[in-house]
Structure formats: C-alpha cells, structure tokens
C-alpha cells in the first residue's frame, strides 16, 4: 500500500511542475465556461419549459465541470502510461515487484488530482463571485455538500478505472490513438461532459443514466446543485460503487491477459 501511495505522491509532484500549462488551462476553462453559459442562456430564454434542469443548477454544473475538468474528463491523457506502452518503457514497469494495475491506477489518479488542485481554485473563486444566475451557487444543504464530496471521489475512481481499461486495451492494438479516441469520446459524451445527461431525450436518458459513464461527472455535479436529491443520492452513490468495482475488475483482467502477450516496442 505504501508503494502505491508513494507512486501517487511522485506522480502528483510531476503533475504540478508545469505552471504555464496550468495558467493556459485556466484561461481556456474560463472562456469555455462563459461560452457554454451564454449559449444556454439564449436557449433558456427562447423556451424555458423545454429544460429539465433549472438554469442556476446548470450554471453550477458548468462551473464545477470546468473547475474539475482534469478530474473527470476522459480525454485528459496520461502520456507517461501511453508512452510506456507505445515506446517500450513498459519493460521497466514490469521489472518492479508490484501490481502494474495498481501502479498505473495510482499514477492516473495522482495526475488528475495534481492537475486539478493546480487549476481549480481560481475558477471556483471567480465563479462564486459572479452574480446569480450565471455564477456558482452553494449546495442546498449539508447532505448535498457531503454527497457531492463522496460522489466526486467515487467518480474519480470510476473515471480512472475506465481510462485504465482503455489503456490496457491499447496494449493489444499498440497504436494508442484509434481505440483511445473512439472510446474516450464516447465515454465523455455519455458521462454528461458535452451536455448534461438530463437533457438526453426519454429512453436514451434512462439508459445513459445506468451506464458506467453516468457514474463519472454526471452524478457529483448534479448532486451538488440539488438536481439529484433525496434518496436518489444514495442510489447514485451505490451505482458508482458498483461501477467502480466492475470496471476495476474488468480492467484488471484485460491487463492480465494483455501482459501475457506484451511486446516491447523498439528493441
């Protein structure tokens, strides 16, 4: 356990090295956040009844999404791991007496936490200062705040398990982009990264809400604003636990299979 914690620490330190990149990221996220909020405002004005989410819930959703982008977005790539697979550094990874699955899990999570801590504060602060209804409000109560934190932690786990499953599959295909792009984009769409899941039409919404992707950013962000409330919070958290276990197990098995076929690229 200590080894995995150390891995988390060293990856975290590596992730917070590049300050200019973080600054650029923050700027982008502000621009993107405002862009989304003003586009949605235009839609809401033309037909407020067509939306299944209050506008203030939506703005909270968007600001949290921008602040915690690096925690939840599937498309944040861990180049250390992709590189290890494509250029053969995996040899060293396998020469260590620890589980490769556990090692990479710690590294991916650490990279995401490190990048997020470096970037989230300015976005959260500005979003809190912004006036209603375009700013970020407080959660409706203690239950929602606690539920949000728990659900956020689980969402990080589910996201990590999902991207690690995709990385494990690239051990078979070797070209890292094809499979990764398709699966990660699909995952991001179904996780509510592009539009909140509650905006999906009827049956599509009900199916999407059961998929593992819904256990990524969809749940914590909606619990925060109160869009998911009451007993549904517990239901969501249980579903997240289930998907975390299922995806980890699947990823672990896929990696185990992949490692018997591993080919070290580049001699």
């Amino acid at each position: 356990m200590r080894a995995y914690f150390s891995l988390f620490r060293i990856r975290f330190i590596s992730a917070v090295q590049y300050r200019t990149a973080a600054l650029a990221g923050i700027t982008t996220q502000f621009a993107w956040g405002f862009l989304l909020i003003f586009s949605y405002r235009a839609f809401y004005r033309s037909n407020p009844g067509a939306f299944s989410m209050e506008f203030s819930h939506l703005t909270s959703y968007i600001w949290l999404q921008q602040a915690f982008l690096n925690l939840f977005a599937g498309w944040i790539r861990d180049n250390d791991i992709m590189g290890a697979i494509t250029d053969g550094r995996i040899s060293y990874e396998l020469a260590r007496p620890i589980s490769l699955y556990g090692k990479w899990f710690s590294q991916i999570a650490a990279n995401r936490v490190g990048r997020t801590l470096l970037r989230c504060a300015p976005i959260l602060i500005v979003a809190f200062i912004l006036p209603e209804p375009i700013g970020l409000g407080l959660p409706p109560g203690f239950v929602h705040a606690a539920g949000f934190l728990a659900s956020m932690l689980l969402a990080l786990g589910v996201t990590t398990a999902f991207v690690l499953l995709v990385y494990s599959l690239t051990i078979f295909t070797l070209s890292s982009y094809g499979l990764w792009t398709v699966l990660v984009m699909l995952g991001d769409f179904l996780s509510g990264h592009i539009i909140p899941l509650t905006f999906f039409p009827g049956a599509a919404r009900r199916i999407a809400e059961l998929l593992p992707f819904a256990a990524m950013q969809n749940m914590p962000l909606r619990i925060y604003s109160g869009n998911i409330a009451g007993g549904d919070i517990l239901l969501c958290i249980s579903l997240q636990c289930f998907w975390l276990l299922a995806l980890s197990l699947l990823g672990y098995l896929v990696m185990k299979k992949a490692l018997t076929k591993v080919i070290v690229q580049g001699g």
Binding site: A3, S6, S14, S91, L94, V264, G267
Partner: protein, 324 residues
Amino acid sequence: MIRVSGLNKTFRVSRRKAGFGNALRAFIRREYNSVQALRDVSFNIHAGEMVGYIGPNGAGKSTTIKILCGILTPDSGECEVNGLTPWRDRRRHVRDIGVVFGQRSQLWWDVPVIDSFELLKDIYRLDTASYKRTLDELTGLLGLSELLETPTRSLSLGQRMRCEIAASLIHRPKILFLDEPTIGLDAVSKIAVREFIKKQNREFGTTVILTTHDMQDIEALAQRILLIGRGRILLDGSLRELKKRFSGLKTITVEYEGSRPVPCQGMKLIKDSEGQASFSIDTDFVSISQAISHISGTAEIRDLSVEGAKAEDMVVELYKEYRI
C-alpha cells in the same frame, strides 16, 4: 541459479516495400513474417558468475534478457531463476533482480533523482537504515552527490546512466541484468561503471549478465561468454578459452625509418601508414622471435609491440565463422 532450457520465441512482424502504393496495399492486406527471435536456447548460469551475452544486432539478446526478467512470455521452453519461473511469478521474481536497459530510463523525468530513489525504497519495501547505507555507498562510488537533487530531464546521458545503475542496485539484487549499460558513456564514466560492477560482483557475489556491443566491457567484466546468432546459442565458453583458441593470431606493430620492413612467410601486412606498419602473424608458421628478427633484418626499427588477439577481433572472427 539460472537454468534455461529449450526457450523459443517468435514475433510476428508486418512488412512491406517502400512507397505510397505499397502502403495502401498493406492497408488492405498486410503481409506478416514471423521472426524467430529465439530457437531452443539453453544454458545454465551459476551464482556469482559474470556472463557476457554477445551477438550481432537482432540476434535475440534483449529478448532473452526480457524473458529472464519476467517481462516477456516465451512460446515454449522452461526457465528457472532462483527457483522461480520469471513470467509466472513475476512479482516475487523481480524483487531479487536488478535491471538496466541502456536505452531507456526508469527515473521520473520531471522530478529530482532522489525522489525516484525514495519511490524505489517504498516499492521494494526497504528499511530506512539499509536504504540509507546502500544509497550512501552508491553515491560515493558512482559520484552522484551532485546529481541527486537535479531533475532527471536536466542530466546528461552519462550522468543519467550512473543514476540508472544506482537505481537498479538500490535493493541489493542477487542478479543484475545489464542490457547495454555503457551505451553512450564517455571513457571515464565507462571505466567507473565497469569498476563498480566488478566490485559488486566481488564483494556481494552478485550474478551479472551483460549484453553489449562494446568489447572492452566484455574484456573487463565477463569471465564467460555466450554467443547468440539468429536466435541460437552458438558458443558457450570462458573468455580465456576463447582467447587461447585465437592465440595463434598475434599482431606486431612496428615504427620504422626509411623503407618498410618486408614480411616473411606466415606474416601478413595489415596496415601501413606514416612510418607505422602492422603485421598479423600466424604462429603455426612462424614464431614471434623469428618474425621479429626477420623484420629487424629488413628495416630500421624504432619501436615495436606485440599484441594477442583482441576481443574485438575475436568477435569479428566468430561472427564470420558462424556466418551471422
């Protein structure tokens, strides 16, 4: 300590001819060749041995090392290192081995070297006292004190390589696999690294298996040589035996004044430039003293040296002999 028998490994390699048309064709129908990287490879290595594993590019050296380290799974064959099968008991097996892959890095790129070492301490579950002792020792021997607080990305290749070797030894492995450990090093670093490896072997009885293209590495380190070519073990013997086998070949180099010395039977001129000539001598035909007296009879000699076969030449001869 290491027992390998009947190891086979085949890789499937896609290939096509150059050009755009062929690239398109390969997109639809790809042709594969199987490359047999290892064919029935068997050998035994005892504890405390230092073995040089040599062979031309693509012979199967690295593949063997990667199987012995538990990274690759062979198609067939048995292998036992320290009583464990590397690819089946990978995690238990790698605890007792150290590996250096000369062309790759195991250090974390963006953080100071010492952070990578601290991580290894936790990965191998070393207790603080023995970690500190090993680290101090390695720091002294490899001259790392200036480097430990520098991020890996800022180190030169030679500096990084010394850190890599230290990283592979921090857990005091019983077996050390070195895959081209001196690649890209300057003369001083090479000698430092070789001395260090020798010392490890002498003092701790570390078993060392080394692949290299640098014959000075072999001469300095390997007591025993395994020659592999096209996936097959071709020769397994001590460096001394090998030298004896080629002892019939000597080289005399002379500096002369005026006209070049004339070789007699059994001597052959290999090189002649700026008043310095080298002759190879086949001692089956002519003894060294005969050759010297013959040369000195035909020209004015200023300086003269006799050398036995160099590892470099022996390897060239071996590659020729086995047509690899």
